[in-house]
């Protein structure tokens, strides 16, 4: 799907409040995927653990994320959680890349 069309479609979906039912399809090239995986394990791992079992930040294992919707997780990754140490990463990550990370977390990083 062309990117602009994808964005418009997502916007429409978000307005309907149904985004969680229509997950983004993330197209990430191999090099960027390597960078994202490194970022997740090393930088996110500082607080969430290299194996995502948690630290100062909560666990991000597949089980821990079972009841969480994609849209909420993407928002946390991109915008952070006010009042907690979780910072926003939207200066570094696109919405698609945040979704790619959510997908990876749901699979499990080990």
């Amino acid at each position: 799907m062309p990117d602009t069309l994808g964005k418009a479609f997502r916007l429409a979906v978000m307005f309907l409040g149904l985004a969680a039912c229509f997950p983004l399809t993330a197209e990430i090239d191999e090099e960027r995927a390597g960078e994202l995986r490194h970022l997740l394990i090393q930088e996110c791992g500082s607080c969430h653990g290299l194996t995502m079992r948690g630290g100062l930040g909560p666990a991000l294992t597949p089980e821990a994320l079972e009841d969480r919707h994609d849209i909420g997780l993407r928002a946390i990754i991109l915008h952070g959680v006010p009042g907690t140490p979780m910072p926003g990463w939207n200066w570094k990550l696109s919405e698609e890349e945040a979704q790619w990370l959510v997908d990876l977390l749901r699979e499990g990083v080990e």
Binding site: G34, R37, H38, I41, Q42, E43, G45, S46, C47, G49, L50, T51, R53, G54, G55, L56, G80, G83, P85, P87, G88, K92
Partner: protein, 397 residues
């Protein structure tokens, strides 16, 4: 397997062959005063090193999840106690290069401390929140201190655990905003003194080298909290209140550590949280003396033992850079780019060497801190924390 994974595995194999040749022979007599250990983050292993010849002596493997790990030494500096993220506590024989005991004492841990007399090892845990205390002889259990707070008896994550004179451990409750002092000077259950409502989200703490002041950094507030361990009845005191001057804090991509006391000029150097500054505090009245603009969010501000310099590393995305602050002028005197992922720095006790870990490049660099020249490079697998044995004889380290 990723490229990084393959490189890591390959370097592990190569390193294994090399280390087999240089491992400490059990029959050789030697002291441990010039030895140290390096955490290898991704492989969950520990390198044993020495700073006289600047070499690696042995690698100890299968020590668990080292995404956050720290080390304390036994009072004879023969053994290293290694605290891993996964609750693993290992007692490593530095001379034999092997694990003597290992227990997985909790689900998720952040650090530890060794008691004044060397008999007790305490671990601060996130899950279950609290402190577990073990015998340093055999890691047998001694005490459990659940960090209960509030009406529901919730458990708080525990951070900033240090030893203090009087056979005490001091630690902070991140979720509860409390500081506890656990006194083990009498046999049996510890006597625990709790200081409540000290401030929001204490994230780490330090104790001054004389063992008198415990200072916790607050993530949720603009300030620090101070406890005078010579006078617990005086309670906690807020210092450096409003150091951010109400400005919106910058995002923090990694929590700073509080471990940076410079004896020179009697000043304390602290990473500010959410600002690209080092705070300089005079303990006489706890006044702010200066704030030094630095390259990014500081993580560690490490004082050279002679007090002449402070070396500073930074959070992602600035973790390829190290700055050197000249204590006499309180200015950044030099900037180095050792490589991607500089996670930790450690001096030798007489200040002639500075070791730093470059995680993404699988190297540990050794610098002459006067000339700022690199004098040696050691291979290590995703190195993070570096700990020299002189810590065995320092309060709070």
């Amino acid at each position: 397997m990723s490229v990084i994974g393959m490189k890591t595995a390959l370097s592990a194999m190569v390193a294994g062959v090399l280390l087999a040749v240089t491992a400490v022979q059990a029959g050789d007599l030697r002291g441990t005063g010039d030895m140290g250990v390096i955490i290898e983050r991704q492989s969950g292993s520990l390198l044993i090193v020495e700073s006289t010849g600047k070499t690696r002596l042995a690698r100890v493997e299968e020590l668990g999840d080292f995404s956050h790990a720290s080390v304390k030494f036994s009072r004879d500096a023969r053994y290293a106690f290694v605290f891993g993220r996964d609750g693993g506590l290992s007692r490593i024989d530095l001379l034999r290069g092997e694990t003597r005991q290992r227990v997985v004492q909790a689900g998720n841990s952040v650090g530890g401390a060794i008691s004044q007399d060397g008999s007790l090892v305490a671990v601060s845990n996130y899950e279950p929140g609290g402190v577990h205390v073990f015998s340093s002889e055999d890691l047998g259990p001694v005490a459990r201190i659940p960090a209960e707070y509030g009406d529901e008896g919730e458990l708080s994550k525990v951070v900033g655990l240090v030893d203090a004179p009087g056979q005490r451990f001091v630690f902070s409750l991140f979720d509860a905003g409390e500081i506890w002092v656990a006194d083990f000077s009498e046999p049996g259950e510890p006597d625990i003194r709790k200081f409540r409502d000290v401030g929001r989200q204490p994230y780490d703490a330090l104790i001054t080298p004389d063992g008198r002041y415990y200072i916790a950094g607050l993530f949720g507030e603009d300030g620090l909290v101070l406890l005078d361990l010579w006078d617990l009845d005086a309670g906690v005191q807020r210092i450096m209140d409003g150091y951010g001057r109400g400005e919106e804090p910058l995002p923090v991509y990694k929590m700073p550590h509080l471990e940076g006391w410079a004896a020179a000029n009697g000043l304390l150097f602290l990473p500010a949280v959410g600002r690209h500054e080092l705070l300089v505090v005079n303990p006489d009245g706890w006044r702010e003396v200066a704030r030094i603009p630095v390259h990014g969010q500081p993580i560690f501000a490490v004082a050279r033992p002679d007090g002449r310099q402070i070396w500073v590393n930074f959070a992602y995305p600035d973790n390829d850079t190290v700055q050197v602050v000249d204590v006499a002028s309180l200015e950044v005197a030099a900037e180095l780019k050792p490589g991607s992922g500089v996670l930790h720095m450690e001096f030798t006790p007489r200040s002639e060497q500075l070791w730093l870990s470059v995680r993404d490049e699988n190297r540990v660099e050794i610098y002459d801190p006067d000339t700022l020249e690199r004098v040696a490079t050691l291979d290590a697998i995703t190195p993070s924390g570096i700990f020299m044995t002189y810590r065995a004889h320092r309060i709070g380290l």
